[in-house]
């Protein structure tokens, strides 16, 4: 796409050519994996990401942490490679192995030079890590100890404490709200990881994203090589439904920090929701749009009450959270909380102005080229489009979908989907020293 758009401009000298979107090639490997490929020879490098429906949402009830450790141990030892060999061989060729892990998606990514020797060596390691991981006992014991240390540390941090309490309150017994406790991690054994891997890392749930300096023929061979020996399993890739309507309530948790960490929210929307674009554009106006959102203007610009204040929807396979967050010094936490609630209530009640909507569209549509201006960003889009089965034309249609949103749609969507009276509020480092929990929202 870059090449073609460049040629277009230099040949015809147009200044405002519509920015081209990358040409996405899509196919399925013999192994059953779905492949999304953008060919681009602008830089001598290749980015690869392989994703599976194996995020924390696929943990079994009562056994949180297995999915995360499975992801974490993939590149710590594979058939014929110790963890040290994985690391040193990649380092020898300047390749970088990375990962992605959230409630839905577990992935491994690779960035390598595209010169044949480096690329081959790097892909050989990626192929083994994905298809023949060993989950060595000794490595598991060590990684469990490190994870437990990190969990204990997190228990002392106000933002982690708030996030955990918020997740539990918003999602209840649903896996989106689970949090690994030390005791959960302690009981995880190697057979748990092996079983999880066999069940959730099948080729049929795999999405291979490829971006960069290879040809279609090479891409086909690579995708097959990375997935041909994945486990045969075809586990149900669905996560249980989220109970979207909650009762709400407020929790205040003591903490010696100088600031209160405030989170407000409820279950929001899923990735394939029909209200996605009205809510996305609306949220830009409420608390998503950098320095110009309503929350930023009211809390920070006009009153100097916080450095950071935001809102977002986290659209996942099932409805992820709608969340507002800020930190402010304890003495003014109650005032900031009231103000935030007032801004939200006003937004839901009255909707947005035509001027605000136009400004939001100008930014989102005008800024679209910045979303796809690097191989890394395009690779992530390929993974998301593949994983959530979005239309291949998702990027092509993005601007038009934003452009179609109306004030009425935003108002309707927020009224139906965002209920300020049935939201969870968590305040860590609460102004009142004693802990208190109330059962109903204010």
């Amino acid at each position: 796409m870059r090449i073609s758009s460049f040629l277009f401009v230099s040949l015809f000298g147009l200044v405002n050519a519509v920015s081209a979107t990358p040409l996405i090639q899509h196919w399925q490997t013999a192994s059953g994996a779905r492949v999304y490929f953008v060919e681009d020879h602008g830089l001598p490098m290749l980015d690869v990401a392989v994703s599976f429906a194996a995020g924390s949402g696929f943990d079994e009830a009562g056994r949180p942490g297995v999915a995360g450790l499975t992801n974490g141990l993939l590149n710590l030892g594979a058939e014929g490679l110790t963890e040290d060999q994985v690391a040193s061989r990649l380092a020898d060729i300047g390749a970088q192995l990375g990962g992605h892990f959230d409630t839905d998606r577990s992935g491994v990514s690779l960035r390598t030079l595209s010169s044949v020797a480096e690329r081959d060596a790097a892909l050989d390691i990626l192929a083994r890590v994905l298809q023949q991981p060993l989950f060595p006992e000794a490595v598991l014991a060590r990684e469990k100890a490190r994870l437990i240390a990190a969990l204990k540390e997190a228990e002392t941090k106000p933002d982690s404490i708030a996030g955990k309490a918020f997740g539990k309150a918003v999602f209840g017994e649903h896996p989106y709200g689970w949090w690994s406790e030390v005791a959960d991690v302690e009981k995880i054994q190697r057979p748990d990881l092996l079983a999880f891997y066999r069940t959730h890392y099948g080729a049929r749930s795999a999405v291979v994203a490829l971006m960069g300096d290879i040809t279609r023929v090479q891409a086909e061979a690579i995708a097959q090589r990375l997935t041909a020996s994945l486990p045969p399993g075809g586990a149900d890739a669905r996560i249980p439904p989220v109970a979207v309507l909650i009762k709400g309530g407020e929790q205040r948790i003591a903490h010696p920090a100088s600031q209160s960490h405030i989170l407000i929210g409820a279950p929001g929307i899923a990735r394939n929701d029909a209200d996605y674009f009205p809510l996305y554009v609306g949220n830009y106006i409420l608390g998503g749009g950098g320095f110009v959102s309503r929350l930023m203007t009211e809390i920070r610009e006009q009153r100097g009450m916080a450095y950071s204040v935001y809102s977002y929807f986290m659209p996942m396979q099932q409805p992820g959270a709608f969340q507002i967050g800020l930190q402010t010094k304890k003495e003014q936490a109650d005032a900031a909380l009231q103000l935030t609630r007032a801004v939200l209530r006003d937004f839901v009640d009255k909707g947005v102005t035509e001027k605000e909507l136009q400004a939001a569209k100008d930014n989102i549509i005008g800024g679209f080229p910045l979303r796809i201006d690097s191989n890394r960003k395009i690779l992530e889009y390929l993974s998301v489009i593949g994983f959530y089965d979005l239309p291949l034309a998702y990027l092509d249609d993005f601007a038009a979908n934003v452009g179609k949103v109306t004030r009425k749609q935003i108002h309707d969507a927020f009224k139906r989907r965002v209920h300020p009276d049935a939201m969870v509020t968590v305040v860590v480092g609460a102004p009142q020293a004693q802990e208190k929990t109330t059962g109903s929202g204010k």
Binding site: S5, A17, S19, P44, M45, E83, D84, A87, S88, A91, D92, I93, G94, T112, L113, S115, V116, A117, E118, A121, R142, A145, R146, A149, K152, E153, T156, P158, A254, H255, P256, A257, S258, Q259, G289, G290, F291, V292, E301, G304, M305, A306, Y307, Q327, T328, K329, K330, E331, A359, D362, N363, I365, G366, G367, P369, L370, D373, S374, N375, R376
Partner: protein
């Protein structure tokens, strides 16, 4: 060997890249240096303006003023009212922000390639037309205090780093945090910020970097139009700082609410003054890579994986700064191990380096990563502009970049060993230890006490 030939191939290609490097520069009559990096992969651009002024130019009593002024730069000029700067950039589809460091202050906008004139119009306007409203200042300095609480006061590791710097430096202004001491923020006035602005925000103290899908001649033309009329002014005298020799090891303890202890060992170290002539900073850069440049590097391999003394470990060194540098080792002991155990294990690793040096494999690995990184970084127009701006503001200039890469490739195993011997001495060392405090027993901290303005 096949692999080596591949990396060598990349080196050749990089050399060719630099030879044809599409970096252009021009200095306007008012002293503003303009550097353009053409990159036509995507129809976007970034404008960054870099002022050679950071927290190291501050004095006690007004620490944090460089960063407060950075915030105030978004608060309106004589012709662009409060809030309009951000609104106009947003309406153009742009993203914008700014950052302040010890050495510099920089502002940027990322936009479609057709919007450079708008970005230049707004940025040049606030270089000389800023309005310092007392009301806006009063609100914004409170925002900065909240930023300080979020980023430092309530973040044990950041707090530890702040106190480590204050202990390690006696004379050099790196002893003061970039965000400023809370008391200085509380006492800061609009006049302090205005004086800072008038002293340092002049074209002859700035570098304009534009990178992306632009043509250099067009950028220069627009730069002359928008920035060319801003008059130059003499700059305040910059005092030299020469940290007096440290006379022995320094140790500090920092108490904060946390679960795990933490250890930082920081050695005074030089930074580059002459990219061609210097050698020690390059050897230190490679040394940091040998210790912590990849997952198989020494510290992670021995202390986390084999001995399991640490749950987290790291080493770092940055060879580019206006002031002196630090070679830093940092880690968290594993459950059942103490910071003393970890310090002893780290010292054993350093002693091994000094005694036995580094292997050819280790050296080659670090260099291969440097080479690959040079390719990868081209995936980000923003990062390329950032590198140019940093090199310009710290005084090395962007043309030092290919020299620096070549010099890194020339580092020998013996130089690395000698660098370790020369720098990793107790007389240059400050050790900081985090002493974790239970949440319930922590004393109320002074950071959040309310105050009058």
């Amino acid at each position: 060997m096949r692999l080596l030939s591949g990396v060598a191939g990349v080196l050749l290609m990089l050399a060719a890249w630099f030879a044809s490097a599409q970096v252009f520069e021009q200095t306007l009559p008012n002293g503003l240096k303009v550097v353009v990096k053409e990159d036509h992969r995507a129809p976007v651009l970034v404008q960054q303006i870099w002022y050679r002024t950071g927290s190291m130019d501050e004095r006690t009593g007004t620490t944090g003023v460089a960063h407060v002024l950075e915030h105030m730069m978004f608060k309106g000029t004589r012709s662009v009212p409060m809030g309009e700067f951000s609104k106009r950039i947003a309406a153009a589809g742009g993203r914008e922000n700014a950052f302040t460091s010890y050495d510099y202050t920089a502002y940027f906008q990322q936009l479609h390639r057709s919007r450079l004139a708008l970005a230049m119009q707004l940025e040049s306007d606030r270089m000389h037309n800023l309005r310092m409203s007392a009301t806006e200042f009063g609100k914004e300095v409170r925002v900065v205090m909240e930023e300080r609480r979020t980023r430092t006061d309530d973040e044990p590791h950041a707090l530890m780093y702040e106190k480590l710097m204050a202990a390690a430096y006696q004379e050099h202004p790196y002893q003061h945090p970039i965000i400023g001491w809370m008391n200085d923020l509380e006492a800061m006035t609009p006049a302090d910020a205005l004086e800072w602005y008038r002293s340092w925000y002049v074209p002859n103290n700035a570098v304009l970097v534009v990178a992306g899908d632009v043509r250099a001649d067009e950028v220069f033309r627009l730069a002359r139009r928008y920035y060319g009329k801003i008059p130059a002014r003499p700059l305040p005298l910059r005092k030299p700082f020469q940290e007096p020799p440290q006379a022995g090891i320094k140790r500090i303890v920092v108490k904060a609410p946390a679960q795990l202890p933490h250890l930082i060992m920081a050695y005074h170290a030089p930074t580059l003054r002459d990219a061609e002539q210097d050698s020690l900073p390059y050897a230190l850069e490679v040394l940091a890579g040998v210790l912590d440049g990849n997952e198989s590097a020494r510290l992670n391999k021995t202390l986390v994986r084999e001995q399991q003394i640490a749950s987290e470990i790291g080493a770092g060194y940055d060879n580019s700064a206006r002031g002196p540098g630090m070679f830093v080792l940092e880690g968290t002991p594993s459950e059942g191990k103490t910071v003393a155990d970890l310090e002893a294990a780290l010292r054993e690793q350093l002693a091994r380096l000094v005694r036995d040096g580094v292997s050819a494999d280790e050296l080659q690995r670090v260099k291969a990563q440097v080479t690959a990184h040079e390719v990868y970084k081209r995936d980000s127009v923003f990062y390329q502009a950032m590198q140019i701006g940093q090199l310009e503001t710290i005084g090395l200039g962007h043309r030092a970049l290919p020299v620096m890469l070549r010099k890194l490739q020339e580092v020998t195993a013996q130089q690395v060993q000698e660098a370790a011997r020369e720098i990793l001495k107790d007389d240059y060392l400050t050790v900081a230890v985090l002493d974790p405090q239970p949440l319930s027993a922590s004393p109320k901290r002074s950071g959040g006490v309310s105050h009058a303005h």
